[in-house]
Amino acid sequence: MNLFQDALAWLTDPERSAGPNPLVDRIGEHLWYTLLALVVSALIAIPLGYLIGHTGRGRQLAVLGSGAARALPSLGLLTIFTLLVGVGNAQVAAIAVFVILGVPSILAGAYAGVEAVDRTVVDAARAMGMTETQILFRVEAPLGLPLLLGGLRSAALQIIATAVLAAYVGLGGLGIYIQRGISLRTYDEMLGGAILIVLLALAVDALFAIGERVARRAIGSGPTRSRPRPDRPEPLTTDQQSTLEEIR
């Protein structure tokens, strides 16, 4: 418990905002790497996932590739990439590592979302005369949005957790406190940094949870407030009333 009090004291120390290593800057860096990696991952994974989901082809390959990407040790990869591109370009190496981490979840979310759409709905859309592109963007993509957001959500959380590694190649981020804490044995600093990462992750998670709810609502499934409740029986039409009377 003592350690937690120390960590809290460290977190609330005025030094954290005024000192040479301000929290806000580190949080900013951490979020920036996360956002950048998430955007790049999404740009790669969403088109690919939609293609796989819509055509039903390449799924096997995606599963294999994702498995391999997930099995790669991030720290080792980061070291190799940094050596390859040079320390001056460490940022590129770090983003590349985070992207490799983020792509599999987003890819799975994208194609699972498309695959989850009721096939009779897609069939009806095609029979009406929608082109394949229209089916993808007007039917499959919106209906698959909650699952895609789920994929983005887990990718974001994994990247936030792994962005700690940025500190190891001199890029800062919240990992710097953990790294310093370990080497200097300043455990209040290390725990304080860890707590911040957890809080960041929880905040981002909550944001995505809200996003998923909004998406579900927007596609007309799930509970609604402003619209009539589906479980409330409809008032009978006069036609139905007379039918009822005939039956009685």
């Binding site: 709905v121 029979a127 005369g129 082109t131 919106p142 007309g220 619209r227």
Partner: protein, 275 residues
């Protein structure tokens, strides 16, 4: 007019769903394809709008071979209504109905106007326009499906067991509505069902199919009832079980028509007296 000439369909897995099918479906009439499950009704229907491509023979619409037409353009001028309605769950009723006109470039205001009038046409209250499909009853969803099928004012309306998933009372209601509608609009309707009563009720031409899309008999309901071509047909239309045979029973000086189960179906009147 839709004409099938020697049409066959073999699916990729080797299933021969339809074998050497030839039929003329006259314009402005209702042709009902009726047959048991797996007889190829849906496959035949979907070869008209190229949702399925024939592997043998030709399908022609007004003399034009559909194989030469672009599928998307072809489908946009043919209405399609299916059993599950297949409505877009994320779009409101009005947007569902006007999907194709909007795709064809119709402005929103005009499309909404059209959608609302189509709701009137199929007997849907306009107050439902802003609901989502899951907020409608099965019968209402089916009406939306029909309205959507009519949205581009197609000459041809394909209906694949459109009333198969609703309860009998609602079904009777929808059938009556469709007959009233057809009197007004006179579309070339191809209607698929496995319910022979529905076939006789709606069909100008009824086509009874056996496995492989083999035509067991075709004709008007009266022709088929008067002269079932085979035991298969007799069995299918229920003639052998006496379900279709009505008897006349004299009671209190009047002639009562009684059905196969002995239930009174009505009173027989002289033609002259009826007028």
């Amino acid at each position: 007019m839709i004409e099938f000439r020697g049409v066959g369909k073999r699916f990729a897995d080797g299933t021969d769903a339809v074998i050497d099918f030839s039929l003329v479906m006259p314009s402005h009439q209702v042709t009902v394809l009726v047959g048991s499950s797996g007889s190829g009704k849906t496959t035949i229907l979907r070869m008209i709008n190229r949702m399925v491509d024939a592997t043998e023979g030709e399908v022609e619409i007004d003399g034009e071979n559909v194989a030469t037409l672009e599928p998307v353009q072809l489908r946009r001028r043919i209405g399609y209504v299916m059993q599950s309605a297949g409505l877009l769950p994320h779009r409101r009723v009005l947007d569902n109905i006007t999907t194709v006109p909007r795709l064809n470039g119709m402005g929103r205001a005009t499309a909404d106007e059209l959608g609302l009038s189509l709701m009137d046409t199929v007997g849907l209250d306009r107050s439902l326009a802003r609901r989502y499909p899951h907020q409608l009853s099965g019968g209402q969803q089916q009406r939306v499906g029909v309205a959507r099928g009519l949205a581009v004012d197609p000459n041809i309306l394909l209906m694949d067991e459109p009333f198969g998933a609703v309860d009998p009372i609602v079904r009777a209601d929808l059938q009556a509505e469709l007959m009233r509608l057809q009197r007004d609009i006179g579309k070339t309707v191809v209607f698929v069902t496995h319910d022979i009563d529905e076939a006789f009720l709606l069909g100008d031409q009824v086509v009874i199919l056996a496995t492989g899309g083999v035509i067991a008999q075709k004709g008007t309901p009266a022709e088929i009832l008067a002269n079932p071509a085979s035991d298969f047909v007799a069995d299918f239309i229920g003639a052998d079980r006496g379900r279709r045979s009505l008897r006349i029973v004299e009671q209190a000086g009047r002639r009562i028509v009684v059905d196969g189960d002995g239930r009174a179906a009505g009173v027989l009147t002289d033609d002259s007296a009826a007028r």
